[in-house]
Symmetry: C2
Subunit: 198 residues, 2 copies
Amino acid sequence: MGSKEQDTEEKIKEAARVIFTKKGYAATRTRDIAEEAGINLSLLNYYFRSKEKLFNIIMTEKIQQFFGIMFPIITDAGLSLEEKIEKMADSYINTILKNPDLPIFVLSEIRNNPQSLAQNFNLGHVMGRSSLILQIKERNSEVDPIHFMLNILGMTVFPFISKPLMEASGVFDDDRFQNLMNERKKLIPIWVKAMLGH
Amino acid sequence: MGSKEQDTEEKIKEAARVIFTKKGYAATRTRDIAEEAGINLSLLNYYFRSKEKLFNIIMTEKIQQFFGIMFPIITDAGLSLEEKIEKMADSYINTILKNPDLPIFVLSEIRNNPQSLAQNFNLGHVMGRSSLILQIKERNSEVDPIHFMLNILGMTVFPFISKPLMEASGVFDDDRFQNLMNERKKLIPIWVKAMLGH
DNA sequence: AAATGATTAAAAAATTTGTTTAAATCAAAA
DNA sequence: TTTTGATTTAAACAAATTTTTTAATCATTT
């Protein structure tokens, strides 16, 4: 188990991250991954047995990334509602800015295979008894708190999902997009407070 | 050109709509479409020459659906800002409720092929000089109006994009989802007004 | 230097998938 | 009824892609 093994395995995984998240499972060819990794195609099967097994490894990582930010924040009873919203927007945008393909990749692949992928996270259970949901209920008891969860996520995540469309149709370029998303770190908490009423 | 032709051609197109929008181009096999349509595989090529040509027909339809609702509303100078937002939420949600896979399908395929698909719509041009953008600017001159466009779209469209995830992880079922989306027709205009400030 | 494990190149097997072909079937017209 | 052309089917084909195999090469360790 020299450093070479580690290096190659990691090179393949890193290439798989890039290609899978950019194209999705079905449109990705193992040849693309091998080329991106700069290794012989045989090595991919040598290390990971199959395209599907490699994909499952990457997908588990990506689901971790996508939900790993959210869980600790919404369940932390030590944070006020305002603090939670600020932290959600801030850390979510920071993370996804480094990985803009993440949301559309995760949500697309879940659409293609909901049952098998939903096992990795019990979102319903976690969210149902989360501190965040309780705090939203206290603040506004008239509207189902799930609405505000959808709004916070939508305002944070949707820009990334629509980015390819917006760029291709000249609404903004990548620089302006990053700019906008940094502005949104401050704006989303303000908007959510306004929506909740005071 | 009897009714048989029409029937079969339409059966194939309808099956293609279902499978393409559910799985995306790459993950769709022509055999899936044939099976869904209940016809022999050869007929697909007999009527549409190739998978790609069939896909282009469906994709053009779907892009029409996705943007066709938006354009007339945001460019109609006869509508007030409030009326525009109400109409956007209402007609968008009504349309997509009948076709929940539409947003993630269109946005995924655009990501996979931005240049070729972006030609169908000059969103940048239309939005830049739209009546809606001007009205938002008048109401709130401090924040780039694109933020509010992203918010309106995000709050309307994101729930559909996250639906497979939410359903698979038990946050809500299809009935509750439809319920929520109908509630949002009224709520989104209220929220957007609150965000804009008054 | 010998041995060991990692990597490559090349080929081939196996599988999947889009497309074509040729014959059969059907419906309408002569 | 026979003929004709369009429609449909079963089968095969062709191309792409994943996976496996084998032998050779390379790098590192003993």
